[in-house]
Amino acid sequence: MTNARGTRLLAVTGTATALLLAVSVFGIFLVAPEDADQGIIQRIFYFHVAIALTSFIAFLVAAIYGIVYLRTRKPEYDRIGVASVGLGLFFSILVLITGSIWAKASWGTWWVWEDPRLATFVIVLLLYGAYFLLRSSADGERQARYSAIFAIAAFASVPLSFYSVRVAQSFVHPVVFTPSGANMPSTMLVWFVVAQVAMLGLFWTLLQMELVQRRTDAALKRLKAQLEVQ
């Protein structure tokens, strides 16, 4: 009883994402110019920043669908919310790994608390990790409702965490995007945009995969319940 349209869409987005990822890897490592100061390690930033933005978008999607769920109470929106938080966490872990690799190459240490973005992602990781604890502690409709409330509250606290960490610490991290625009030449910016689109495609594909699996699971449960009644 899986949604055939959703599976077809998944095949299309999956293929497009795989192609985009391949193009971005090719462009970042073979076409984009090398940074004069940092050398090859700078190339990790194309992925690092794109992954970080994608994880924020995943949490934003969870918060939006949290609001939609509270208004409509449709289980589908809860499924999108929980899948988005899971993917947001996955991308957050990737942010910490890529950031850590960059810290080791730049400063010779795997972890630097002075970097506001890495510190923010640790807080985000802890915050959204608690989302699943909350989810496993509640039952039935309450589980979806509480998850929606927490997704909204957690997303509201993310900018606060980021701003507070940034205010409290020195700016040792190179600021790639400033209010006046992107602080990089256009040849780098093109590949950054390609990497960003590829990461968003990856998020979209993984979200669809998760939703297909969750819908199938829900359909199976319904079928089991029907069989038990008969």
Binding site: A138, I149, S157
Partner: protein, 251 residues
């Protein structure tokens, strides 16, 4: 003898409730009554307040042996120690926020009362605020005594001003978390896991502001910045609580 007659139907006339006849209940009266109830219960038992103060003292002693004993002057760490202690102890206040209702099995009665859900959440926020204030009245002077080499009375007054601002944000988040955890399993695990990561921005701002006063730098611009951040946290968390409170008790 078996009978094929169907039993007579019991007709019960249910009067439609006359909504117009129900007196309108404002929010001030129920809010004051709910807060008074929590304060009176605490004054009678003193269980939570004493537990919190003892826990805070133990936490400060632990911080002393973990950090303070490694340095000649713990002044730079005092702000951090104060707010780490307050944060950890606040978990107790949040965990115990609905304890009296749960243990006395009055939670359903309270939810059935003609009191707005927002009033229930606000009452719990006020109670948590008062618990934190009582805690800080003990902890802040003691921490200054233990860890700060020299501090003026005006410094203490400014730190208490910061405490009031921080308590506002902590109480709002605490009330929301306590209300979510009240109806879940394993709430003793859930409260710290939900509450502590959510209040990190408040702690960063409160510790930063306190350090700018007690750390010896007397940086007023920094203090102003951190105070604004604390106020911002209170506003953001207040808006989130306002937007979601009716869904917390939506059973």
């Amino acid at each position: 003898m078996a009978t094929s007659q169907t039993p007579p139907r019991l007709e019960i006339a249910v009067a439609e409730p006359e909504l117009a006849a129900v007196p309108r209940v404002g929010w001030r009266g129920p809010l004051a009554a709910l807060v008074r109830k929590d304060v009176q219960l605490e004054l009678r038992t003193k269980q939570t307040a004493i537990g919190m103060v003892l826990f805070a003292l133990v936490a400060m002693v632990i911080f002393q042996f973990a950090i303070g004993s490694r340095t000649d002057d713990a002044t730079p760490f005092a702000a951090g120690i104060i707010w780490a202690t307050v944060a950890l102890t606040a978990v107790l206040a949040v965990s115990r926020a609905w304890a009296a209702e749960r243990e006395g099995r009055t939670i359903d009665g309270l939810l059935a009362a003609p009191v707005g859900r927002g009033v229930l959440l606000t009452a719990k926020a006020v109670s948590i605020f008062l618990y934190l204030l009582a805690l800080e009245i003990v902890v802040v002077p003691l921490a200054v005594l233990f860890f700060v080499e020299s501090a003026a009375a005006t410094d203490l007054a400014i730190v208490f001003g910061l405490c009031l601002l921080a308590n506002l944000a902590l109480a709002i988040v605490g009330s929301l978390v306590a209300s979510l955890a009240a109806f879940t399993r394993g709430r003793e695990l859930l409260v710290p896991a939900l509450f502590l990561p959510a209040i990190v921005p408040v702690l960063i701002a409160a510790a930063g502001g306190t350090f700018s006063v007690l750390g010896g730098t007397d940086d007023m611009a920094e203090l102003r910045g951190y105070s604004l951040l604390l106020a911002g946290c209170a506003v953001v968390f207040g808006l989130v609580a306002y937007a979601t409170y009716e869904f917390v008790f939506d059973d």
